[in-house]
Subunit: 255 residues, 2 copies
Amino acid sequence: MQRYFVEPDLFSEDEISIVGDDVHHIVNVMRAKEGEEILVSNGAGRTALAKLVMLSSKEVKAQVLELLDEQCELPIRITIGQGLPKGEKMEWILQKGTELGAYSFFPFSSERTIVKLDAKKEAKKLERWRKIVKEAAEQSHRAVLPEILPPVSFREALKASNAYTRCAIAYEKEGGTTLHQVLDELQGDDTLLVLIGPEGGFSPEEVGIAESNGFLPISLGPRILRTETASQYVLACASYQFERKHAAAGTGGEA
Amino acid sequence: MQRYFVEPDLFSEDEISIVGDDVHHIVNVMRAKEGEEILVSNGAGRTALAKLVMLSSKEVKAQVLELLDEQCELPIRITIGQGLPKGEKMEWILQKGTELGAYSFFPFSSERTIVKLDAKKEAKKLERWRKIVKEAAEQSHRAVLPEILPPVSFREALKASNAYTRCAIAYEKEGGTTLHQVLDELQGDDTLLVLIGPEGGFSPEEVGIAESNGFLPISLGPRILRTETASQYVLACASYQFERKHAAAGTGGEA
């Protein structure tokens, strides 16, 4: 069944209002009619089965039939701090990270970042990135719409540490912490921030500064992972650690 | 340090001969000189530190300084049976699967496969795919060069089952097996084949046939994964399960 995200203020326990691009999708792409059912999430963990009761070119209204108790969110909330990669890799990271359960993302620039975003480019990118995350969240049946924060500097990224239960930085270091050690310490509702470097990773100086700011250098297994693969490794391992008993919703599908 | 793969017959305990594209890479791209050191793997698990002793436009010879005992291969050998996806997704699946430790790949066509490969297209694709896997294996410091088998039909794919310790098919099924149950049963040197459907997954009939051929339907967590994400989930979870005590070689890097 088709899924949509709406702003929390348009989502009540009895009626849901859908505006914007999704109206076009429901009316013109899906050619939906009154009486048909859809799934709607408020992006904050609530999902409802709803029946279309009014369709116009500007707005679609749906009556809530049932509030669903879906368990498809990672028990720990993982934020991916991603060093801006080259080309379109960021789009892949966001799409795959959303499928794999990331709670939020923030891109940052560090010593080895090549991409430079001016304010105008940044606004355009963010708009595109948010569209990609919304579509991936709908397709993978997320109840939470991952947030993408505006790109910050590495120094700014480090300041975020206080907001999380645990902060880590992906870096191979003799005697460094393993991902297991980090995940074993966490439990439901804990929050984890993992910083992943751009191509070329982090400089030893950057890792030193991160450590002095409370970030644990963590290794992501014995093989060198590219920057666009590291976040998927972290998220899949977290799913394996925390969703062991979970009955699966499916796999291999595509919207 | 730069890494290269050579055919096992060109790899001896004292001297290594490098031919083909890698000669151009060493001589013209890296501008390497006699006396410089490189890493060379035979693609079957043996890697050597070697010193360049002769460079020509046709061949490069290197003297083995030390046979390395690297532990960067997954203890269980995982073969990804991938339903041919649309566009360039297969290239991504091969590159990421190689980084994440896949032992081999075989593409197959099933009921919901859209891509059609004629013999000529297939040969070209295979050549390109093998190049992608070789580059990814060098970049991620693999000692084993994953093999890509020529595409087969779903029925042919099922016949492979006898060659593996355990065979699974990615499919959500009430009371189906979880990836944990499959991995918990395996140990070092075991082999695992996982079939992943193309976009749209497998039909219930296909899963039924697979089950009667000894394949376990396995779920890959609570979120719907796209076909190009499923293999990465399986491989990352296997790394998490079997490489727990492993000292990492690094992350976030890129060749």
